[in-house]
């Protein structure tokens, strides 16, 4: 199956457009996973980054369902993403029921409704910083076209994270990765605060954060920080949610 050229081009232009001064990294990565799902006709996509301990952390996913997030996260023990990260190359598994090398991951993937999985590396020069996971509902290969588009999207994600004019020092890579990971943790903390305050689930809390950030043109991580620190903007998020009910 090939990927329609016009849609690919539009997606890349859209993503490149977001790489401007006030760019919101987490929102960008979330958008990227959503576009992966659309362009590659898969069921779900997730983006994992390694922290300075080499532990893969979910930084963005096309959906917030617990099953998907857990499936992504458990790959620190076994799975396509960790193999991809360690080996620095795309890992394909067209049929998870045949994945004897990942007994726990394969079972979890099936329980989540996925039949095939692919992981493509996020790399900068010689360094692998993470992986993009793609999950399909039916068995089968991704095919060279979709695989190369998937790799291109992963490359865009890497560029977004290393959003600096030139990468002069290795430190910039480390710093930017840390910023992405810290931002994600802040967002998780904010999800908990909102969920408890408003009596809603954490995925609905995430949606309300995103909605507020977009409509007020603020970065997700900044809004999340306001929520966690109980600043006025954080109050406004809760208020905005209540008004919609």
């Amino acid at each position: 199956m090939s990927v329609p050229d016009a849609r690919v081009t539009r997606t890349f232009v859209e993503l490149a457009d977001t790489l401007v001064a006030d760019f919101d990294l987490i929102e960008f990565l979330h958008l990227l996973t959503v576009r992966c799902v659309e362009l590659l006709a898969v069921e779900a996509a997730g983006l994992l980054l390694a922290n300075s301990h080499g532990v893969l952390n979910v930084v963005a996913a096309s959906g917030e369902e617990v099953r998907l997030l857990e499936l992504l996260q458990l790959q620190n023990e076994e799975g396509a993403a960790i193999d991809c990260y360690r080996e620095g190359r795309a890992i394909e598994c067209p049929d998870v029921t045949r994945a004897a090398q990942w007994p726990v991951f394969a079972r979890a993937a099936q329980e989540a409704g996925f039949a095939a999985v692919v992981a493509v590396p996020m790399r900068l020069r010689n360094e692998v910083v993470g992986a993009v996971n793609l999950f399909a509902a039916t068995t089968g290969e991704l095919g060279p076209d979709r695989l190369s588009v998937g790799q291109a999207l992963a490359d865009i994600a890497t560029i977004g994270i290393l959003h600096e004019r030139t990468l002069r020092r290795h430190e910039v890579l480390v710093e930017q990765l840390q910023t992405a990971l810290t931002s994600r943790i802040t967002i998780e903390q904010a999800k908990g605060v909102l969920a408890e305050r408003l009596g809603i689930g954490v995925d609905e809390a995430f949606a309300s954060l995103r909605l507020f950030a977009r409509s007020h043109r603020r970065r997700l991580a900044e809004v999340a920080t306001s929520v966690v620190e109980r600043q006025p903007e954080g109050e406004a998020v809760a208020e905005a949610y209540r008004r919609t009910r």
């Binding site: 390694a50 922290n51 300075s52 301990h53 080499g54 532990v55 952390n57 979910v58 997030l69 857990e70 996260q73 360690r86 020092r169 290795h170 430190e171 480390v174 710093e175 840390q178 910023t179 810290t182 931002s183 994600r184 943790i185 802040t186 967002i187 998780e188 903390q189 904010a190 999800k191 908990g192 605060v193 909102l194 969920a195 408890e196 305050r197 954490v202 999340a224 920080t225 966690v228 620190e229």
Partner: protein
């Protein structure tokens, strides 16, 4: 590989502790960090609730003096790192932009003998505890890999400070956990009416007191089976 980095650093920390025949503490993390990055290392804690008695640790007198100077002046790389998201790296402390940014600190720091300073935030998401402050008597950037090493050490300091505040043993590493732990901390912070950092400590204390794993406690909170009440002293109630 990053996994090797973390193992290497922790092995070095444990070695520093066993050399003294003492349990692993912030002191040993600083000593291991100093060896790894070839700089003096000090801890700057901005959150007074988590000081747990010991004010500051420093591997050398210069590091200690710089923390004191920054605390008194209320400015400096560690102060900025503690308040922000990113490390503050100053390979040449004496240059103009540095003097201009921290006029109440840099002249004194240079006089004390500091030529380079690198401060790494001690934070978990929006929970800011302070900074890990590296300093040198020679100017120049950190060696390749040194920043990543220092970040692993910063995480180790965080884990130990939080665990100590929870009255726990220092075995549970907050960074090996996923999203649920941080969501649970957010929820508990509302339930108890406390800052998220303290909520993390309470989660840890509950796990320790009940002999449960932190991950399980977090899951129970997020699934609303475990709730913390402001009336209880330290523990949550299972439903």
């Amino acid at each position: 590989m990053n996994e090797k980095r973390a193992s290497r650093i922790w092995a070095s920390i444990v070695k520093c502790a066993s050399r003294e025949g003492a349990p692993v503490s912030v002191r040993h993390v600083c000593l291991a960090c100093a060896e790894a990055v070839s700089a003096g290392v000090a801890v700057f804690l901005s959150d007074s609730t988590l000081r747990t008695g010991q004010l500051v640790f420093a591997t050398d007198p210069l590091g200690e003096e710089l923390v004191e100077l920054q605390t008194t002046a209320g400015e400096g790389p560690a102060v900025d790192a503690a308040a922000g998201f990113e490390p503050v790296l100053v390979p040449e402390l004496g240059v103009e932009w540095s003097r201009g940014r921290w006029p109440g600190y840099v002249p004194d720091a240079v006089r004390a003998g500091a030529k380079a300073q690198f401060s790494i935030p001690l934070r978990i998401g929006a929970v800011r505890l302070g900074a890990l402050d590296l300093s040198r008597r020679t100017s120049g950037p950190l060696a390749a890999g040194a920043l990543a090493d220092a970040m692993v050490c910063a995480d180790a300091v965080l884990a130990l400070v939080l665990d100590r505040a929870a009255g726990a043993g220092g075995e549970d590493r907050f960074f090996d956990h996923g999203a649920e732990l941080h969501q649970a901390a957010g929820m508990v912070s509302v339930q108890l009416g406390v800052p998220v950092g303290e909520a993390m400590v309470r989660l840890r204390a509950h796990a320790y007191a009940h002999g449960e794993r932190l991950g399980e406690v977090a899951k129970a909170v997020v699934q609303r089976q475990l709730r913390f009440s402001a009336n209880d002293k330290s523990e949550g109630e299972h439903r």
